[in-house]
């Protein structure tokens, strides 16, 4: 029995990516915990990745897949730096509530 080719249309991938991106964006805007904001950013990044991979499959090109590897590498590095920052902020202020971190206001 021949396997039925499952063809998922590109639009669905994009829709999922949009949903993920909006979730991430809303998370960044709404949440107060720096960790959660950080996770939301990761979500947005991966939404972007998903969109790129979807387009790559749509046009039958490998460039997109390769780009995503780079994005993931950068994301990993960013996590390392970002988490270190958050740990340091927590150590000095005993809190990671971003609303309390507004010394930079004009």
């Amino acid at each position: 029995m021949e396997p039925i080719p499952v063809f998922v249309p590109t639009e669905l991938y994009l829709a999922l990516a949009v949903v993920l991106f909006v979730m991430g964006a809303l998370g960044v805007v709404i949440r107060r915990s720096a960790i959660l904001i950080f996770m939301s950013i990761e979500l947005m990044l991966n939404a972007g990745n998903l969109a790129i991979v979807a387009f790559a499959r749509h046009w039958g090109q490998v460039g997109g897949q390769v780009l995503v590897f780079f994005v993931m590498t950068v994301a990993a590095a960013e996590v390392a730096v970002g988490l270190a920052l958050i740990v340091t902020i927590f150590r000095s202020r005993r809190s990671i509530n971003v609303d309390e971190l507004h010394q930079m206001e004009g």
Binding site: A25, V28, V29, I37, V98, D99, L101, H102, E105, G106
Partner: protein, 787 residues
């Protein structure tokens, strides 16, 4: 033999090394070590000079130019065609000078070890003496005018530091007490007066360089060419070096000008009647030579103490006596005579300048001799005598008797050094006597008053005043005889050195007048003859005042020549006395009675003639000789009859002063003919006034107070204030502050946008991104709408 000439740098290097050793190690060596180093250096120089004499004799008197490594192109300016090498010249003239300088110099070094004994600055003195030898040797051995000039300035500097050697000796005045630093002032005077002369020499050198394009006397291998016009006076034309390319008749094959030294170029240009162009002015060569000779004469009057610049020499006697003997009698002051003799070609072709030289010399001889009559200071008498004798030499050089000038130079170096050193012994002895007397007196005092007598002010005692002497013959027998020999030589008594040399000058003067019908010759002869008589008189006066009669002070009674250090001093006198007796026979005038048959006549003239081509041997004039000696004897006897039985003590008048007929003359001589006063009144005081005027009026009042303070400072301040207040503060600061304020004003409301809340930033980024997307999409919508 040829190679011996290569030793010549040693005459400079040896004293230089001696000087450096004493300079850096002197304080560790002790008196004996310092003395040995200094004497050794001088003796090496003397030995080298003797070797050079041998070399010259053995090689047929060929002049040799020695170049030293690294300095053969010492000054090298191609743009100005200025090439000067540091070359030494070994010829009969320079060897003569080397022998005089090193010979007398060595003896005086010996003497100084005794004279300076116990001085706190003992090593320094010998450093200076050796330094003097270095520069004097540079002066006489240089093959160009520049090296000569360096030596000239160097000996001037050494003279300055040695006159001021005891710089802290105060000038005592009976009325005002201490009025300055006697020795320092004397040194300064010597230096400043010499600057005037050196200006003249410098101008002469500039002219020489402009005219000939070189300063070398002769190039290596070059021999003096005798001018074609001058065959008559020349006894024998000397072609010294057969192998050297002898310049034939100057007109035929003309060598490149710079290939010849200045003197041969002068000969050639005279033969051609060339002209020299100075920009817009063109002068015949003879005029130029006359100018050079006259400017050179100014230098000579400074260094050799001639009128009008002789005033420094008597003051220079403030220095230590060895210095007076070495620098201010025997060697340095004769540098001027050496310069004239070295430049004989210039003077030969400049008859007018030579006439001036003769007159300057003869008048100086007379003035110096006259002033010496009225001096009380034993060294001042000798100083003015030196001035007078230098006048003899210069006058001799002026009348073209270069042999006689050099002969008198060498002879004078011997007997004047003898006299000065003798006077040093006398001064030393009288000083010792004085201290001895003081010592005795103190003893008596203590005995009488039980030791608590008030210290009475030390009466100023002048050990150089001849009135404080007298009768020293008894206690200083050896010194007396040597001094007498020197004095008789100076007075020109047969057969001492002074007789031969002075007589030759007198005879040459008369011959010049007689044979060539030259008035200058007669004048020179007359003035010099009178000077010679005066010489005999003041030397007779001095010897009688110092050595004869009875001691006039206690100090003189206790003077003796047995103190420590005296022995070496008196021994040096002995050597010089022997030299004084013997030396004259090296240049016996031909035709002099029997003597010229026993001794070969004019050896010195023949020797010198190899270099000094215009020199000529002298013929004796028996009449002049007899007249001069007779006159001298009469003057000595006159001095004896005047001074022997009239003891003069300090404060007394001279017998000449008591006599109304000679009172004025003596006063004039005693006041040194008011030369210093005249200079003070007409030069020093106006100069000082001009200086004050320039300083107070021109500099302080006009330049400083007006030009600087009013014109410059006020204007500057005004401009600065204008620039400061309206321009800088108003415009520039306003603009800058305005920008700042503008930024602040804008930043105030904008700053409120920065809330510091991360979410606000994130939101604005999203909104911005949205806007960008919308803006990107809008054209697409339009395109789609268009379709």
């Amino acid at each position: 033999m040829e190679n011996l000439a290569q030793l010549v740098p040693l005459v400079i290097i040896a004293p230089l090394i001696g000087m450096l050793i004493n300079l850096f190690l002197g304080k560790y060596l002790g008196e004996r070590g310092v003395g040995m180093v200094a004497i050794g250096a001088a003796l090496i120089a003397f030995v080298v000079a003797v070797l050079l004499l041998v070399q010259q004799t053995a090689t047929g008197y060929a002049p040799v130019v020695v170049e030293i490594p690294f300095f053969s192109r010492w000054i090298d300016v191609p743009a100005a065609a200025l090439y000067i090498g540091w070359q030494f010249r070994v010829d009969t003239l320079s060897v003569t000078m080397m022998l005089v300088v090193a010979g007398v110099g060595s003896l005086i070094h010996f003497y100084a070890t005794g004279y300076m004994h116990g001085d706190s600055m003992y090593p320094r003195f010998f450093v200076y003496l050796n330094m003097f030898l270095v520069f004097m040797m540079l002066l006489v051995t240089g093959n160009n005018f520049l090296v000569l000039f360096i030596g000239w300035e160097g000996v001037g500097f050494c003279s300055y530091i040695l006159i001021s050697f005891w710089w802290d000796r105060a000038q005592k005045d009976k009325q005002f007490g201490t009025v300055g630093w006697k020795n320092s002032l004397a040194g300064r005077k010597a230096f400043i007066v010499n600057r005037v002369g050196d200006f003249g020499l410098l101008i002469a050198l500039f002219l020489t360089f402009w005219t000939f394009g070189t300063l070398d006397f002769y190039k290596p291998g070059e021999v003096p060419i005798q001018s074609v016009h001058e065959q008559t006076r020349v006894i024998e034309v000397v072609r010294t070096d057969e192998t050297a390319p002898a310049p034939a008749s100057p007109a035929l094959d003309e060598p490149h000008p710079a290939a010849m030294g200045v003197f041969n170029q002068a000969e050639q240009m005279m033969a051609e009647g060339a002209t020299v162009s100075f920009g817009s002015i063109t002068m015949p060569i003879q005029t130029v030579l006359t100018l050079i000779a006259l400017f050179m004469l100014l230098g000579v009057t400074g260094k050799s103490a001639q009128i009008p610049l002789f005033v420094w020499l008597p003051d220079a006697m403030a220095g230590p006596t060895p210095v007076s003997a070495l620098i201010h009698a025997a060697t340095m002051v004769t540098a001027g005579v050496y310069l004239i003799v070295r430049s004989q070609v210039f003077y030969h072709y400049a008859p007018f300048a030579s006439g001036v030289v003769t007159l300057v010399g003869a008048v100086t001889a007379l003035v110096g001799g006259f002033i010496a009559l009225g001096q009380w200071d034993i060294k001042k008498v000798l100083a003015y005598s030196t001035v007078s004798q230098l006048g003899f030499m210069v006058a001799a050089a002026g009348i073209g008797a270069y042999t006689a000038a050099m002969f008198h130079l060498a002879a004078h170096a011997l007997f004047k050094a003898l006299l000065f050193l003798g006077s040093g012994v006398v001064i030393h002895a009288v000083e010792h006597g004085y201290h001895h007397v003081q010592h005795l007196k103190e003893g008596e005092h203590h005995a009488e008053h039980g030791g608590d007598a008030p210290e009475d002010e030390e009466e100023p005692f002048d050990p150089q005043d001849m009135r404080n002497m007298g009768g020293l013959k008894a206690s200083m027998r050896r010194t007396y005889w040597f001094y007498l020999i020197g004095a008789l030589a100076l007075a020109g008594i047969f057969p001492l050195a002074g007789f031969w040399s002075k007589d030759e000058i007198l005879a040459e003067g008369l011959m010049r007048g007689f044979v060539e019908g030259d008035l200058v010759g007669y004048i020179a002869f007359g003035l010099l003859f009178i000077s010679a008589l005066l010489t005999a008189f003041y030397m007779g006066r001095q010897v009688i005042l110092v050595f004869h009669g009875q001691p006039r002070t206690e100090a003189a009674r206790y003077a003796g020549e047995r103190a420590y250090g005296m022995r070496v001093m008196v021994n040096v006198l002995a050597v010089l006395a022997v030299g004084t007796v013997v030396f004259g026979f090296i240049n016996v005038a031909s035709g002099f009675w029997v003597v010229d048959r026993i001794i070969r006549p004019h050896v010195f003239a023949d020797w010198l003639q190899h270099t000094v081509v215009y020199a000529h041997p002298a013929n004796a004039l028996m009449g002049v000789a007899i007249l001069a000696v007779a006159g001298a004897v009469i003057m000595i006897l006159a001095a004896r009859s005047i001074y022997l039985h009239r003891p003069v003590v300090e404060g007394d008048k001279d017998p000449l002063q008591v006599n109304p007929q000679t009172e004025g003359l003596f006063a004039l001589a005693n006041a040194r003919m008011f030369w210093d006063e005249i200079y003070d009144k007409y030069i020093v005081v106006p100069f000082t006034r001009a200086g004050h005027w320039l300083a107070d009026r021109l500099d302080s009042a006009f330049l400083h107070d007006f030009v600087h303070d009013v014109l410059l400072v006020k204007t500057f301040n005004g401009v600065a204030r204008l620039l400061g207040r309206p321009v800088d503060l108003g415009i520039i600061d306003g603009a800058v502050n305005g920008l700042g304020r503008l930024a602040q004003a804008i930043a105030g409301p904008l700053g409120r946008l920065q809330t510091g809340y991360v979410r606000v930033y994130a939101l604005s980024v999203f909104i911005g991104a949205l806007l960008v997307i919308v803006l990107l999409l809008l054209p697409l919508l339009q395109v789609m709408g268009g379709n």
